[in-house]
């Protein structure tokens, strides 16, 4: 009997095994052939193991980096990379994260089936990240495993349903009604960019960013790993110079201290590359299963997709957003240093591309080129400040030098972190935003979609 329980707890306690089992169930539900069930389950299992291996690489890099930065300046440098914090968290909380990934999906499915918000969230990596942020923040409250699973699934699932609904009017406008919405959990930031664009921007038609001709000189900004390495390098090298050769030499062994810093900076990107490969493997098994299940249970739902889905509809806006976000980010960094804040967000430019680019598309939809630039700049500034705040709140968990990046993760994290002792209040706030999303659905989205279909509807006599 003891052996039996040991087997059971080993399976349920090990995220890798658990994720493999989840993938297995998903594949069986899709009636996949037996060889696909076996390889798919093992691939998901392997993906989790690879993610853990990447976490180890990142930790060996971040631990001395944090000490050297503290030596050079009086701050802790934090690299906001969802993949990194998720991989680190999975070592300790992996099983709960896997549970909430499935629980959150189920809540999304139920809400999409029974409420007016018929949106199915299909960005697998963001389902994992929202599960991670709720898991770690709920554990900071000292809750038991069952409460963490229930609250985490509820909060994740509600957020994954309401955010796509809030993004829908902007996406509809930007894509001319392509029929999808965003499933990218920086949506509160994108909505902010859209609103700022409306207030501070110009005429969205006359000054549309897509009319600008930039040429093709900006290929560098799509190389996410290179950007990440370079961003870390700049801050790390400056800190190392200030810390002094001797201080760095304590860590660098036989290598020249500055050569070592150069290698270490790109070791971070290398670790993220490993994590990405792992995430890619299990997300690639989970998302088709989620999609297959949701198509059966919630027909005609609108898919909520990863943010680059809107990029082909606004290439120039993406570029403006990139620059706007970067300016905001550097402004936030300067402010954090100026007020002697103990945590400084390292500008890795990764988010300038993804979040900045999407903020640019939203800003352009409401305020043309000026809307794209200013909207993204405001988001870059605010987002970097709240990332630093969240890192401070997570400090009790002892994660080194990395934090969540995207606005919704950060806001959900801060919400649980600051008000978690009154759990009903947290849930009430989340539900209140959900109700706002329902209001947006009825008052904005549906009339908008109806209007865009009008000429067709007239002949079809849709009533």
């Amino acid at each position: 009997m003891d052996i039996f329980w040991q087997v059971i707890t080993s399976i349920l306690g090990q995220a890798s095994v658990l994720v493999g089992l989840i993938a297995c169930v998903g594949l069986i539900l899709q009636r996949a052939p037996i060889d696909r069930v076996v390889t798919g389950s093992l691939k998901a299992f392997l993906g989790m193991l690879i993610m853990g291996a990447g976490a180890a690489v990142i930790v060996t890099m971040l631990t001395p980096a944090a000490e050297i930065m503290a030596d050079g300046f009086n701050f802790q440098g934090v690299v906001p990379v969802n993949e990194a914090i998720t991989a680190l968290a999975s070592v300790k909380y992996g099983a709960q994260m896997a549970g909430i990934t499935v629980g959150g999906f189920l809540v999304n499915l139920i809400l999409a089936r029974f409420t007016p918000l018929r949106y199915i969230f299909l960005s697998g990596h963001h389902i994992l990240f929202i599960a991670t942020v709720t898991t770690v923040m709920l554990y900071t409250l000292g809750l038991d495993d069952i409460s963490v699973l229930i609250y985490g699934s509820l909060i994740s699932g509600i957020v994954m349903t309401m955010m796509p609904a809030l993004a829908m009017p902007f996406v509809h406008k930007a894509t001319n009604g392509a029929g999808f919405t965003l499933g990218h959990l920086a949506t509160s930031g994108y909505v902010l960019s859209g609103i700022v664009g409306k207030i501070a921007g110009g005429d969205p038609v006359k000054t549309n960013a897509e009319k600008i001709n930039f040429g093709r000189r900006f290929g560098f900004m799509r190389e996410s790993l290179i950007l990440m390495g370079l961003g870390v390098l700049v801050v790390y090298m400056i800190s190392a110079i200030f810390a002094g050769r001797e201080a760095v030499a304590e860590y660098s062994g036989t290598l020249d201290p500055f050569v070592w810093v150069f290698i270490q900076s790109f070791t971070f990107a290398a670790g993220v590359a490993i994590i990405l490969q792992g995430v890619r493997m299990f997300v690639g098994e989970l998302v088709p299963a989620f999609r297959g299940i949701s198509e059966k249970l919630v027909p005609n739902a609108a898919p909520a997709l990863d943010c680059p889905a809107v990029f082909p509809y606004g290439e120039k806006s993406v570029l403006l957003g990139f620059f706007g976000y970067t300016v905001g980010l550097i402004g936030a960094m300067a402010l954090l240093i100026a007020v002697d804040f103990p945590i400084v967000i390292i500008p890795i430019l990764l988010h300038s591309f993804f979040m900045g680019g999407t903020a640019g598309v939203f800003g352009n939809a409401t305020g043309g080129r000026r809307g794209a630039l200013i909207g993204a700049a405001v988001l870059g500034f605010i987002n970097s400040l709240i990332q630093a705040l969240l890192f401070g709140q997570m400090a009790v968990l002892g994660f080194e030098g990395t934090t969540f990046a995207d606005t919704d993760f950060v806001l959900v994290g801060l919400l649980i972190g600051s008000l978690g002792s009154i759990m009903p209040l947290v849930l009430a706030i989340v539900v209140a935003v959900f109700l706002i999303a329902v209001l947006v659905e009825y008052k904005v989205t549906r009339p908008m979609i109806r209007r865009s279909k009008e000429p067709v509807a007239e002949t079809a006599k849709a009533g």
Partner: protein, 98 residues
């Protein structure tokens, strides 16, 4: 066996969606699942010798087109019809030349 690779910024979201749509589009066109393989990748590590067709959006097309393989450029990663219309002819061309 034709190797297809879908490419996006991180190789996590859009490329996975495009790969699901591509798989459905090819199946709908009557292509046997044994005749192709689809992988997803980020643009930084997608350049490989064994890929026959790259499927990507206009965002990444200029880079991918420099690598020499057939490149199919799409706009909506979730639109099976659009992807089918662009991918199936390219797929048939590549299969004939093999």
């Amino acid at each position: 066996m034709i190797n297809i690779m879908t490419v996006c910024g991180m190789g996590l979201g859009s490329s996975l969606l495009a790969s699901m749509s591509a798989e459905r589009a090819l199946k709908a066109a009557g292509v046997s699942t044994d005749a192709f393989r689809i992988e997803t990748s980020d643009v930084g590590s997608a350049r490989r010798g064994d890929v026959d067709i790259y499927l990507t959006t206009s965002e990444f097309a200029p880079e991918v087109q420099e690598w020499g393989a057939t490149v199919v450029v799409i706009k909506n990663v979730f639109d099976e019809k659009e992807i089918g219309a662009a991918l199936v002819p390219a797929f048939e061309l590549v299969s004939q030349s093999q």
